[in-house]
Symmetry: C2
Subunit: 478 residues, 2 copies
């Protein structure tokens, strides 16, 4: 038996049992108490250290729970054999931790004029209405908000989404086919997992870089299908082994175009040719069409349960709300639900109930209409400013009817890289269209710039566009 | 030129332009207007139909936007060639849609006594305090809540989590290493994607079925490592090709045991042997330990940046809040952040700000302490009821020190299946331990039942356990 002496601080903050526990743990860890060695009995140690047996019992129990000592009936407590710590590896980690801001790249640089795409104008969000609904939902539903939700999401919210899709996107569906989730990235990830590791996917080239990354992160075979303002390379699609095609028919990103009915039909026909072919329709900012009525969703033409429809409230309400949804073909629901059964709904019940009430009371529709007016003013200011500029005749504006970005085709004998570099020198952020191409395509443009305007005020748009066009004008010496 | 006559309803609800658009679209779709055919000029059609040229212009513009017709400068509008609809496939979908409740299996059956695991008691959630913080966060932060969040989550919340981990789990970390996400399933999925498609993973056998399903859904090679109350088969682990090991050291699910220090050391040593080996520590209900102080996390022993720590507020607060977090080793942060850069934070900004304030004001700590008392009362009632029953001497209770479930080893010459079936006849839901085993193991028990008690009141626990034990007693004819 190994009696020992430890000086306990009887006036300090740490309980006596914890001091004793820490001391013995340290001794065992450092090998000063050997494996198999017997510890003093509680009675003897208590007498020796002049503390109560209870204190020792608590310390021994904790050591036993963590596996440092073992109790043998009628024999006492014994030190356990503890695996030695292996030495650190020969090349210890440098642990250079990038700073918060270098980790969060999208937030790293503040530009004077940031024409990046996919900024959502949140200044006009009906915050007071939303807050009022939050308070009333809290007061009415109370503890019910804490209960686990169905995997597919709050049933009332799914009902509101079904009504919205019928009224605005010509889609007939039921709440049972709708799944609510924490963002399109999450939902797309589930769809990818659903079709499996060996399923070849096809995506548009050019396309949204984030979509490419999601597919790449799942380590799947990807075919890139060339896309232009007017077409999608259906022949290449048919030659490829792809089974599932991801497209943005209502508003192509980045090309800004609407997919014509011919191509929609061809894409659906491609899917109809084989049982295991499907189309993922990403309808990300279809709400904001400035001329005429909304273009019906591809899903509304689908008579054969071939289209998986994906949309988000991130663009139409606010990025930080993080609510997206999927509409799944009826015949896939059971298999989909089986595969992910046991998964929890990823959107807090509280947010789902608030959004359901917001929609039911007509606020979502009002907000969309209001934002359409505001975004249209921004777009009009953008177009007017370009058209009034001396360079106007050298610049074609593309994709102005829908969504929150457009393209400038700039005929000034400047390359895309030059156009971007000149802008950067004036602290203006714009993006060259080529950078959205995954692989070279004969259709690839050489002088086209992608600009979003939704994050800027009317004055900023006017000043920013004038500064941009002036800087190009200077560069060509006119 | 193809002049046509259409009867427009000038008093009805649908705008004239939309009636005209629908009519022409239908004619083109059905092939009654042929590809290449010229449409009447706006002027002529307006005179013919006695409506304004504006109406016709709007209808033509919409048809053009959707690709049904094409405008040729100075020539007019022409019908486009539209791909024919392929016939429906020979075997049209039956479209039998499962009902809401059959899709949502966990919610399908209401038991009289449901001893399922992983129910969270939400009755004692401090709802009024939470509501008060929600209201004050809304009032103070307002529109700021709508802004996009850093990918890793709200910085203040990550600071609170770092403080909590230091105080309660002995883990020293920084907010820069913490990522907040919409549930452990989502975060684990990111970790799996991070290590890649060819990375072999090892998980515990038996284990939590949901964890197995997440790995299976990513279509990855998985090794199942046998686990018992006292050990993890490190030899098998070393023989396997596994690079990343997922374990639940603080409270094994379903075995209910704490991983002893020897095995923790061995697991860390296994990881330290090679540069690309890591351990995912799932610390899912470590908050609820009823005897002594909390067992320090495995991550607190890690001196070599080998442990990826995962925990959730789902168990400690409420399932519908859906907030979990990861602590990543410093040297992985840059690569991790690169891979998922551009992804958005999956938890609404509003929930993150509320939880941060809830923690900062000490409510989380108070709530945990309160729930520990309540769960302990439930557990004590469970144990007392078993011990008072005539069958007590035939039943061993396992795993009672930690967490919200425990095991009964039932020595009555009844198989696990029989034990479960007898319970089912009395409308009592219990689970046999064998069902958590992925593959047979020589360590597999033959007579052990897993029971959660957190969803039941004290009375229900007493009545349910007595009914359960009575029914077994009857079955063996005692």
């Amino acid at each position: 038996m190994h009696m020992f002496t430890v000086t306990l601080n009887k006036t300090g903050g740490m309980p006596l049992y914890e001091q004793l526990y820490q001391y013995i743990k340290e001794e065992i860890t450092r090998g000063r108490f050997s494996p198999g060695e017997k510890l003093p009995s509680k009675r003897k140690l208590a007498a020796h250290l002049k503390i109560s047996q209870n204190t020792i019992e608590t310390a021994y129990a904790q050591l036993q729970a963590e596996g440092y000592i073992r109790s043998l009936p009628k024999q006492g407590f014994f030190v356990e054999e503890i695996a030695k710590n292996l030495p650190l590896r020969s090349s210890p980690k440098t642990s250079s931790l990038p700073s918060e801001y270098s980790l969060e790249k999208p937030y790293s640089k503040k530009w004077q004029y940031d024409f990046k795409t996919n900024i959502v104008n949140t200044e006009n969000f009906p915050f007071d209405t939303w807050s009022k609904i939050v308070r009333s939902v809290l007061a009415e539903k109370r503890e019910k908000l804490l209960h686990p939700l169905p995997f597919l999401g709050d049933l009332q919210l799914r009902g509101e989404i079904a009504r919205y899709l019928y009224a605005y996107r010509d889609i007939q569906t039921t709440p049972e086919q709708i799944m609510v989730g924490a963002g399109s990235e999450y939902l797309l990830s589930l769809v990818i997992q659903f079709f499996g590791a060996d399923c070849p996917f096809a995506i548009e080239n050019p396309g949204y870089d984030k979509i490419q990354r999601i597919f790449q992160n799942h380590h799947l075979p990807i075919d890139y299908i060339n896309t232009t303002q007017e077409s999608l390379d259906i022949k290449r699609l048919s030659r490829s082994t792809a089974k599932v095609l991801h497209i943005t028919p209502s508003h192509h990103f980045p090309l800004g175009c609407v997919m014509p009915i011919q191509i929609r039909r061809q894409a659906l026909n491609w899917a109809n040719e084989k049982d295991d072919r499907y189309i993922i329709e990403d309808d990300y900012d279809s709400e904001f069409r400035f001329a005429g009525k909304p273009i019906p969703a591809l899903a509304s033409l689908d008579q054969n349960e071939k289209v998986i429809y994906l949309n988000t409230f991130t663009k139409s309400l606010a990025p930080s709300l993080r609510i997206s949804y999927l509409v799944l073909p009826r015949h896939l629901m059971e298999q989909f639900s089986d595969r992910f059964s046991g998964y929890a709904s990823t959107v807090p019940g509280f947010e789902q109930a608030t959004l359901a009430a917001f929609m039911a009371r007509g606020h979502f529709e009002r907000h969309i209409n209001r934002m359409k007016r505001i975004y249209k003013e921004q777009r009009d200011m953008f177009i007017q400013t370009v058209n009034k500029h001396p360079l106007a005749k050298n610049i074609a504006i593309i994709g102005q009817e829908t969504g929150l970005h457009l393209l400038l085709q700039v005929n000034l004998n400047l390359s895309e890289k030059e156009l971007v570099t000149i802008a950067r020198q004036k602290d203006i952020h714009i993006t060259d269209l080529s950078s959205y191409y995954h692989e070279d395509s004969t259709d690839m443009p050489t002088n086209t710039i992608v600009l979003g305007y939704s994050g800027l005020s009317l004055d900023e748009i006017r000043q920013g566009i004038n500064l941009l066009l002036d800087s190009w004008q200077q560069a060509i010496g006119k």
